[in-house]
Symmetry: C2
Subunit: 223 residues, 2 copies
DNA sequence: CGCTCTTTCTTACAGTGTAAGAGTGCCGTC
DNA sequence: GACGGCACTCTTACACTGTAAGAAAGAGCG
């Protein structure tokens, strides 16, 4: 009856991008259809023309994040233009490592979305292609497909688990700093905290430590 | 005005246990204060006398689950009564492994709660004690506290990441079986699926593969 | 008996996802 | 020009959520 309701020029991508931006800024739990609507200058129900329901919206966020993972050249490649490791099957550990690093970087760019990535199985073509490519590289090195995928999978789940913990203990913006628990009676823990456990540098160090251990351990796996 | 409202004999533990049972049976997303109330024969608001808010209830679930982790003796101990590895500092890898296995077992007993365990940082004394004990064992083997905790932490986050993926792709009871994505164009993936990728046995195999790789890799870490 | 404390219930409110349908404007075709 | 259909947006409504405020009912004690 009243106001005009001009077209807003939306599409699925714009909706998803706005949702991701909102989730990054205020946290997933504050991402509601109504809030996303007002963010886009539109009523909540309008969004249902671009997304069948909220679950699909969240899936879309995950899609957006994993699609942005762009593994750089493996560390140690001096000349990226003519990278000899790119086609050398023996260097799949370096490639796996580059994938893990890129994955973590992208996840930490969207801390609030990590629980979604961890929970919702990814079936998007982009993600499948990334997995297929990495696994195929291992296949070229002589690993059977099942083992190759187990390895890729193991690295991916490790990265997700790590980032989840990293993001959960780095509260980002919103809430109160979560009072540090009392560590009397836990000498090893207390000593480690005094040495920097839980700091950003420690997260980085822990990631590198475990990733190297995992990958060298996997590389030594009997075929 | 009407009905009598007899005492129900509740306490925090009973409430948490009922909540865990409900979450296991119907999934966390179906765990609401009102439903939990009717489960216990009580009105929703009554629960707020045992738990300050829903967040604390969820924290309590996590507490319950991690407190139930009981690492058995490390594999390979022939005589559990007089287990020589229990006090041998050199066997910390086996001990770590036992912890990881026990942790996974307990998590898979409560698939719906895994996302909570993954998201909510655990500060309960029980959990801290478990971490302290394991890390102290590594300390006795000569590792500095910070490194010891990084290692314990790495294993724990790996287990969580793995179980999250395992539980997410094993939909348990409720929803539709989630149509398998189209794998044409992804030959390595398709071959692996044909070889059993994603089956329960595969999850077990992948866990063992990655855990062994991680732990042997960590054991080879320079001090 | 009455006092006080604990436990329970009632009512209420703001916020959620979303089903159903009404309204508006654009576009192509007579 | 008028008209029919389509794409998009809004309105309204419902069942459900967490929880704040406070009333009532019982237990244990003087």
């Amino acid at each position: 009856m009243a106001a005009t309701a001009r077209r807003a020029g939306l599409n699925r991508t714009k909706v998803l991008r706005a949702a991701l931006e909102l989730a990054d800024r205020e946290g997933v739990e504050r991402l509601s259809m109504r809030r996303l609507g007002t963010e886009l200058g539109v009523e909540a129900m309008t969004l249902y023309h671009y997304v069948p329901n909220k679950g699909a919206l969240l899936d879309g966020l995950v899609e957006l994040v994993v699609a942005a993972v762009r593994p750089g050249p493996p560390a140690g490649a001096d000349d990226p233009v003519d990278d000899p490791t790119a086609d050398d099957p023996a260097h799949w550990p370096a490639r796996l490592r580059a994938f893990a690093v890129a994955f973590r970087t992208e996840l930490l760019r969207h801390p609030g979305v990590i629980p979604l990535v961890a929970t919702r199985p990814v079936g998007s073509p982009d993600a499948l292609r990334a997995v297929e490519e990495t696994a195929a590289a291992l296949g070229r090195a002589g690993l059977p497909p099942l083992l190759a995928l187990r390895i890729v999978n193991a690295v991916a789940t490790f990265v997700i688990g790590h980032c989840l913990a990293e993001a959960a203990t780095t509260p980002g913006h919103p809430e109160e700093p979560a009072p540090a628990p009392d560590l009397t009676g836990f000498p090893t823990l207390a000593a480690a905290v005094a040495d920097g456990l839980g700091t950003p540098a420690d997260h980085q160090a822990r990631f590198d430590l475990a990733l190297d251990a995992l990958i060298t351990g996997l590389a030594a796996t009997p075929r």
